[in-house]
């Protein structure tokens, strides 16, 4: 038995299991609600119930007062749903996020390209439909014989709405990516749902944009950059794409061509292990090293978009903050798993 929870002012709808708290459900869906103690004592996670029936659980009478219960408040960390419910939480409305309904698409594999020795580019043609999405968002792919769905970022810009391009690295022991690399063939019919995610271009901010990507993490930035350049965005755009060796680098020709066509776009590929590539004259080191070198360690004034494996994101956040770019100007693509939720985290940062 599940209920639908609508979270205002985002308008986001999520499913909540019976007995699951709405805080838990929201965090697992990637929606940050302010919270602290996690067991009904402090009141940090207080929200307004606009519609529906809730159970307050073990909310302390000092953290959720009687008059507040009468006014329709509840504590997200203790609240369980008794019906479909709409809440309003103390979170920032995201003026750049459009509310796009998730849809299911019947797709067909139209193209498979070897981007590197272990990354394949897959293009799905959408049968009889088009996909509306924001650059940076992802889709869930259902693969035959693989339990659940697998999430991949969309690599094509939203203007190319009749197809979905994904960049998939083979993960050792990963059932989904192994299937894609070994079994998927042209003409296969695949179910894809989307778009999902809140990693999107913050167009309302204007100003310089810095994309830091590791490995296949470059797929979202590709979509975002192609869209920005296509729309004639004239402020500086920088893409730093880090991979291990020259053999792991893809998109080089495309981004190099874009950089020579658009003077406001700078492309910096970086190799963390360039020893075997004697003729490599580009950046050497990790993404954050290349970023520090290029910007002289000062990042103030940028809006940064980070996409890649957790250690890369972690190192980049530190480099950015040491270079005086803080949480409000840093956006990361992050999928919360059960493990992440169980990790002890200080309340210093909300999103990053």
């Amino acid at each position: 038995m599940t209920y639908t929870l609508t979270i205002e002012p985002l308008g986001e709808e999520i499913e909540v299991e019976e007995g699951q708290t709405i805080l838990d459900a929201a965090l697992r869906a990637g929606i940050y609600l302010p919270h602290a103690c996690g067991h009904g004592l402090c009141g940090t996670c207080k929200v307004d119930v606009l519609d529906g029936e809730v159970d307050h659980g073990d909310a302390s009478p000092f953290a959720l007062m009687d008059f507040e219960r009468d006014e329709g408040k509840t504590l997200a960390c203790e609240c369980r749903l008794q019906s479909d419910v709409t809440i309003e939480a103390d979170i920032d409305e995201d003026e750049d996020a459009r509310r796009i309904k998730v849809k299911d698409f019947d797709c067909e594999v139209a193209e498979i390209t070897n981007l590197t020795h272990d990354v394949k580019g897959i293009t799905f043609k959408i049968n009889g439909d088009t996909i509306d999405f924001q650059a940076g968002q992802y889709v869930n792919v259902t693969l035959p014989g693989v339990d659940g769905t697998r999430a991949f970022s969309i690599a094509n810009p939203p203007s190319e709405n009749d197809k979905i391009e994904l960049q998939v690295r083979l993960v050792k022991g990963g059932k989904g990516t192994t299937y894609i690399h070994e079994n998927l063939k042209l003409g296969d019919k695949i179910k894809i749902s989307g778009p999902y995610g809140r990693f999107i271009t913050r167009k309302s901010r204007g100003g310089a944009k810095l994309f830091l990507a590791g490995g296949t993490g470059v797929s979202s930035p590709r979509s975002m950059i192609l869209e920005l350049l296509g729309e004639g965005y004239s402020e500086p755009i920088t893409l730093i794409h880090g991979v291990r060796t020259r053999n792991d680098l893809y998109g080089f020709d495309e981004f190099t061509a874009l950089a020579s066509k658009h003077p406001n776009f700078t492309y910096i590929p970086a190799l963390s292990d360039a020893d075997g590539d004697g003729d490599w004259s580009g950046s050497k080191g990790f993404v954050h090293d290349a970023a520090k070198e290029h910007f002289g360690g000062i990042f103030a004034g940028q809006t940064a978009y980070l996409c890649g494996p957790p250690p890369m994101i972690d190192a980049c956040i530190t480099a950015l903050m040491r270079g005086r770019l803080f949480e409000r100007d840093i956006f990361t693509e992050k999928f919360l798993t059960q493990n992440d939720a169980a990790q002890t985290k200080s309340p210093l940062f909300k999103r990053i």
Binding site: G43, T44, F62, M65, D66, D90, T318, R324, S346, L348
Partner: protein, 504 residues
């Protein structure tokens, strides 16, 4: 078209922002004279993000209901003679320590936040400080009211205000807050808002409140809950302060680092009083001080400082020494109080055999090796009718004002002495941490009011021990050994009555 509904954040902004103004016929720097001299640079006050969006209007509603609930519990506790249902009368000494050593600091915090709120020119932190100021006053009042019930029956509680200002061991918490309140507004915020309310508060409140619950004191548990619902706001304020200062200007980092180092060490020394409460004073134990330190500082604090490292802020200096010292401080301080309880406002006693075994289990590296033999000797002397008291005046650390009782890092058999010379005078310290604090601001600390020095200077009621104790306003039965004390006899009489009633 319908007007779009305002989000909570927008509503809050309309209710709380734009209410102040830039002064014109007085200079802003004259109106806010204190927020620049510390060297902190603020470039944009509007970047302050309210950690807790609360208007004054709803603030009053909240606090009123909390009060109603708390006072209902206090009344019920009194009517049901709750004092007879605590675990043991030794527990009341925890309340004595709390009321004389902690509650007055709530009041100091109230005054400190009122002052700081007045002197920060950004409207966001000003409102937050004013609310916290009122919270702290409420905590002080509710603690007095809750504990006043015990004052009807037990010694050592009635003169807590005077005791706080005069008694030698109470100058430890008093000097801590005096130091914070005589700092600039930003240092006060880092000292009390961040280091104390955020990094260390769980080590104070959780042990006290869980201790009260384990030992049957429901009225104290309730004021704890009532206060904890405010603490969350205080903790978020502490976090916001540190973020705000570090993000505003790179020059703020070294200043903030020095404050964090200083207030971590001062807080650690102050919490030594909590360590002996946890390990020795609670008849029913909650957890050991070492366990609490591991959970609340090493783990939670470690996670926090890992995140703060992104700003370039490092773990507080000497944090390794503090963690290492957790194997020792509760035993050393309780040993000290045991020897000095005849000149203290509360009782001390030697742990039972069962409690000693608990300590051996919780401190396998140190208790049996260094402390059990000493305690067993004292127990043996008690059995021979020769209860040991130390007669003499102690040398105090010039910074934390605790007696020089702590041992060298890595050598628990040698007392740690440090010394600095300033303008031809010698100053003594219990640790590297305390010496560093003095050396950084000697002019400030040479004016400290040190209770032992003040006795020698003739400022504490007279030259003899009874003169001084009278000036401390100690009652004749407030201190010394618990066994055989008035508190003990009263408790035994209650227990006999209950046993008799049960037998009939």
């Amino acid at each position: 078209m319908a007007v779009k509904k305002m989000g909570l954040k927008q509503k809050y902004a309309h209710l709380t922002r734009g209410l102040d103004w830039e002064t014109t016929y007085e200079k802003m720097d004259d109106v806010f004279p204190y927020d620049k001299f510390e060297g902190i640079k603020i470039t944009d006050w509007s970047k302050w993000e309210d950690p807790f969006r609360l208007t004054m209007d709803s603030y009053w509603k909240f606090q009123a209901e909390k009060e109603r609930k708390l006072y209902a519990v206090i009344d019920a506790f009194a009517q049901n003679n709750g004092q007879t249902n605590i675990s043991d009368a030794r527990y009341v000494n925890v309340l004595k320590l709390f009321l004389t050593g902690i509650s007055p600091e709530e009041y100091q915090a109230h005054r400190g936040f009122a002052f700081t709120g007045r002197h920060l020119r950004g409207v966001g932190p000003r409102v937050a400080c004013q609310q916290q100021s009122l919270d702290e006053l409420r905590h002080f009042q509710t603690q007095c009211h809750t504990i006043s019930h015990f004052n009807k029956f037990f010694n050592g509680l009635s003169e807590f205000r005077t005791m706080h200002d005069r008694v030698f061991y109470l100058s430890v918490p008093k000097s801590f807050f005096d130091d914070a309140r005589t700092s600039g507004p930003f240092e006060f915020m880092v000292a009390i808002g961040f280091a104390f309310e955020y990094v260390l508060t769980n080590l104070l409140f959780v042990p006290f409140m869980s201790g009260a619950a384990y030992n049957g004191d429901m009225s104290t548990v309730t004021f704890g809950f009532s206060a904890q619902s405010d603490e969350s706001r205080h903790m978020t304020l502490g976090i916001e302060v540190i973020k705000f200062l570090l993000e505003q200007h790179p020059d703020n980092l070294p200043i903030v680092q020095e404050w964090v180092d200083k207030w971590f060490w001062r807080g650690f020394r102050l919490l030594g009083l909590v360590s002996m409460m946890m390990d020795y004073m609670l008849p029913k134990k909650v957890m050991s001080w070492k366990e609490a330190w591991e959970i609340y500082f090493v783990e939670a604090g470690g996670t926090l400082f890992k995140d703060l490292e992104r700003y370039g802020l490092k773990m507080p200096k000497y944090h390794e020494q503090a963690t290492e010292a957790c194997e020792h401080i509760s035993h050393q301080l309780w040993g000290l109080l045991y020897q000095l309880s005849h000149v203290a406002g509360l009782h001390a006693w030697m742990p039972s055999d069962e409690d000693m075994d608990w300590l051996s289990e919780k401190y396998p590296n140190t208790f049996d090796k260094y402390y059990r033999p000493r305690f067993e000797l004292w127990k043996q002397q008690e059995a021979e009718g020769k209860r040991f008291y130390f007669n003499g005046l102690l040398q105090l650390c010039h910074t934390c004002q605790l007696p020089m009782t702590f041992t060298e890092p890595d050598d628990p058999t040698t007392t740690c002495f440090r010394e600095s010379e300033y303008e031809g005078q010698h100053f003594h310290f219990c640790s590297d941490g305390c010496k560093d604090i003095f050396d950084r601001e000697p002019e400030k600390y040479i004016s400290s009011w040190l209770p032992i020095q003040q006795i020698f200077q003739g400022n504490c009621g007279g030259p003899t021990v009874p003169d001084v104790l009278k000036w401390y306003m100690f009652g004749p039965n407030d201190g010394a050994e618990y066994v055989g004390s008035e508190d003990h006899k009263l408790w035994e009489s209650w227990k006999n009555t209950t046993t008799k009633e049960a037998a009939e």
